[in-house]
Amino acid sequence: MNLTLKIWRQKNQSDKGGFKEYKVSDISKDMSFLEMLDVLNEQLSDKGEDPVHFDHDCREGICGMCSLHINGKPHGPLQTTTCQLHMRSFNDGETITIEPWRATAFPVMKDLVVDRSSFDRIIQAGGYVSVNTGGVPDANEIPIPKRIADEAFDAATCIGCGACVAACKNASAMLFTSAKISQLAMLPQGQVERKERAEKMIAQMDAEGFGACTNTGACSAECPKGISLTNIARMNREYFSAVVSSENV
């Protein structure tokens, strides 16, 4: 296949940035999208130009590193991560537009690389069970009904890629935050800190500059792990019950 690539180039955080066009040829349909970009980068290096910087690592759809807004969609046309997208999803002669995630809380570092440390700070605010190493009960002393375990697991599959934020017109991080809050709220281990956790994580999410949720559902539709909107509803319930009970005190 021969393709035209319209790629966002930006030298550093303070640079204004802009699109640049490149051509690649002889692309095999079995290549992954990132391997296609590898080909472009070899080409640029051979010409002495700076290769396009993009995030990636495992290339197996699990580490959450890869990103890219491809033709207006986070992770491209399929509901998967960019590293798991193959060129058979595109047509010969096509022009593909590639941009970084766009969100105030995800500043662009260079080209297509963004800084997602805001997600870490949301977890830091309370996305855990406060248990130290050692002194815990036998694992089978905490039986958990399979239905609940499975539901909590669905929420736990979030890989922290940020596509939900990139998909949302308000750049809201509700899907990401609610996935962790839900997972722990459903499990017996997470009960003790349930209210405090919801309050703190949501406060941090707001402090990072993520937008509000207007229930369009774009996040879940683009999430490569299919994290469900019910998590957001659950988070809202957790939050309101937390606020109400702390006002009572």
Binding site: N12, S28, D30, M31, S32, L34, E35, D38, N41, E42, S45, D46, G48, D50, H53, D55, H56, D57, C58, R59, E60, I62, C63, G64, M65, Q84, H86, R88, M109, K110, V113, D115, R116, S117, D120, I123, G127, Y128, V129, S130, V131, T133, G134, V136, A139, N140, I142, P143, I144, P145, K146, A152, F153, A156, T157, I159, G160, Q183, L187, Q189
Partner: protein, 633 residues
């Protein structure tokens, strides 16, 4: 010279005794000590969090943008523990024995026993953190069996056990960075180890965003930087996995053990074209129902469904009737390579074997198979465009896990005092072949349960460090800056990636699944030539701040040096054991032939001033079990 510091006493009591007698530090004094932890995979995150909980100051470094991205995240299959929840005869002893045997009697008995012993508490710890292991309808935890053993001791979390365990460790780490004494340095790459009077006292790290290189001092340094299987280029590892941290420590005096022991995973997807950057792992569990075969006629290019039953060779079932398609990894991988080398390889590049579900589908029905492996079949289709319900999967062996790594003693401390090495980065527990689902365990146990005790024991004998004199720190920073400047100055015409691909080819062909003296010698020459051309032809685009190509080039430089030691190590070991198969040393029916009289030791390499290497031997004494032939027939 090699002292593994194994505590005296019966094997069942060594660790208990050690803990009872190791030195402690008063809680109020702990905050005076600072420990650097490099790496935030299972080993690093768990160690850092646990040390901070005890009250130590912890500085954590990772080149990743977030601790949660470490490659532990990619582990699919599961984690072993001798809980015996199944009542199927499992015990610490059995797990210990399986692991030593699986490693072909080339691991240190006392360490392996301790790993099995600590496995029980690890599952408890993970569940308490909220790690969602698979459960039965009763609400209790579920187990499955994994290659090379006869009990079901593997705990799992769908196909993402690593991601779920890492979430647990990451969350513990993030909690400590909020309430405790952890300081995170993400996007920082360790470039060098700082050694003072023979003791590790800090690291040199480069801020990848700004390019700034700085010395960070501490009272002890922990390296938990993962495996280096990516040196083979095509592998199941992440693109950025590297050996730089341990290699730089090695160059500062830390011994490197068994560098050539690399595990090749039998069920990864084969290479489909030259552009390919990695090989995706398909879970080993597929071997429970899939049958592996190749056409009997070499060069047979007919599509699989046109090859009649009598013209197929189910070679694992034929050669290993009692384990069949479930033979251990090293054996399955080597058998596949033999078939491929003898012209029986299938697929577009004739580099694969078939994993066929036809009989399982006929036996159990499509629905049952879909229920068991649906997500894997779906992933296979997404990557290859092929439907495994209709035609057999194509699989091939791929570089996967490094049993080798920095040498450590029973305390997980290197010969350089104050340098602790955890997880896949050390050599300790897996011998010459790792059993599936044991390495997540090792990484966790090293970090949560072992290193917190042994590090405290070490620190108790140290006076808290002061910042070094500025002249000294300038020198090591300059050396490291110059190193990068030199790489930038070459301005040739070949990228680091291109060198990496060439390096991978040399290692796969000449120091991979099958090794032989003559080809190893050839590899030595080729590696030397490749290194020479690296310093003439490398091309790194200018730019000292965020520059991925510069990061790759520096890692590549280290890989090129390590590759030479890998080949040296493979040459020196005139026997076959586990993943190390020397063609000259095999039984008449083609099985690995160990030489216990001469090689019952771990090869431990010391680097000399002139860059050459000196071999030390750590003899392996088996006091608790009888060394036997490792047979799976």
């Amino acid at each position: 010279m090699i002292d593994s510091k194994i505590p005296p006493g019966p094997i069942q009591e060594k660790w208990t005794q050690y803990k009872a007698s190791c030195r402690l530090i008063n809680p109020a004094n702990r905050r005076k000590y600072r420990v650097i932890v490099v790496g935030t995979g299972l080993a690093g995150s768990s160690c850092a969090a646990s040390l901070s909980e005890l009250g130590f100051q912890v500085e954590v470094f990772t080149f990743h943008e977030s601790p949660r991205r470490a490659h532990s995240v990619a582990a699919q299959g599961g984690i072993n523990a001798a809980k015996d929840y199944k009542n199927d005869g499992d015990s610490i002893w059995r797990m210990f024995y399986d692991t030593v045997k699986g490693g072909d009697f080339r691991s240190r008995e006392a360490n392996v026993y301790r790993m099995a012993e600590c496995s029980l508490a690890l599952i408890d710890q993970a569940v308490a953190q909220g790690v969602p292991f698979a459960r039965e309808y009763s609400g209790y935890l579920s187990n499955r069996s994994f290659g090379g053993v006869q009990v079901s001791r593997t705990f799992y979390a769908r196909g993402q056990t690593g991601q779920q365990l890492l979430q647990g460790a990451y969350q513990a780490l993030m909690r400590q960075s909020q309430i405790g004494n952890v300081r995170l340095h993400t996007r920082h790459e360790m470039m060098d180890l700082w050694v003072e009077e023979g003791k590790a006292k800090g690291i040199v790290a480069r801020n990848l965003d700004t390019g700034e290189i700085k010395l960070h001092v501490a009272d002890a340094v922990v390296l938990a930087t993962g495996g280096y299987g990516k040196i083979y280029y095509l592998s199941t590892l992440a693109m950025n996995c590297n050996a730089s941290a341990i290699w730089r420590a090695h160059k500062q005096g830390a011994f490197f053990a068994a560098p050539s022991w690399t595990q090749f995973h039998p069920t990864s997807l084969p290479q489909m074209g030259d552009y390919q950057s990695k090989l995706t792992l398909m879970s080993e569990s597929l071997r429970n129902d899939g049958r592996i075969w190749v056409p009997i006629k070499s060069g047979d290019n007919r599509p699989p469904h046109e090859i009649p039953e009598e013209e197929r060779d189910y070679y694992l079932e034929r050669k290993y009737p009692s384990y069949g398609n479930l033979a251990p990894r090293d054996i399955s991988s080597r058998a596949a390579k033999e078939q491929i080398d003898n012209g029986h390889g299938v697929g577009p590049m004739n580099n694969a074997v078939y994993l066929d579900f036809k009989d399982a589908i006929n036996r159990d029905g499509k629905t049952a198979i879909e229920k068991r492996y649906g997500n894997l079949f779906y992933m296979y289709k997404k990557i290859t465009g092929m439907d495994a319900f209709k035609e057999p999967m194509l699989i091939s062996p791929s570089a996967h896990f490094s049993m080798g790594g920095l040498w450590v003693d029973y305390e997980l401390m290197s010969n350089l005092e104050g340098l602790f090495v955890l997880g896949e980065a050390n050599f300790a527990d897996h011998g010459a072949n790792r059993l599936g689902a044991n390495s997540l365990l090792q990484a966790c146990v090293d970090g949560y349960f072992i290193s917190p005790h042994t590090i405290m024991n070490y620190l108790a004998g140290e006076k808290p460090i002061e910042d070094p004199k500025p002249e000294l720190s300038h020198e090591i920073i300059d050396t490291n800056q110059k190193r990068l400047d030199n790489l930038l100055a070459i301005q040739g015409n070949k990228t680091a990636e291109e060198f990496h691909k060439e390096l991978g080819k040399i290692l796969y062909n000449k120091c991979g699944l099958i090794r032989e003296k003559q080809t190893l010698l050839k590899a030595k020459t080729e590696l030397k030539n490749l290194r020479d051309s690296f310093y003439k032809e490398l091309l790194v685009p200018k730019g000292s701040s965020l520059n991925f190509e510069l990061e790759k080039a520096a890692r590549m430089e280290d890989y090129l040096e390590l590759a030479q030691l890998i080949v040296e190590d493979a040459l020196q070991r005139e026997e076959s054991c586990g993943a190390h198969f020397r063609a000259e040393h095999q039984t008449p029916d083609g099985e690995a032939k160990r030489n216990d009289n001469e090689f019952q030791f771990v090869s431990v390499w010391e680097i000399l001033e002139n860059g050459n290497h000196n071999l030390h031997k750590e003899h392996l004494d088996f006091e608790s079990i009888k060394v036997s032939e490792r047979s799976y027939k």
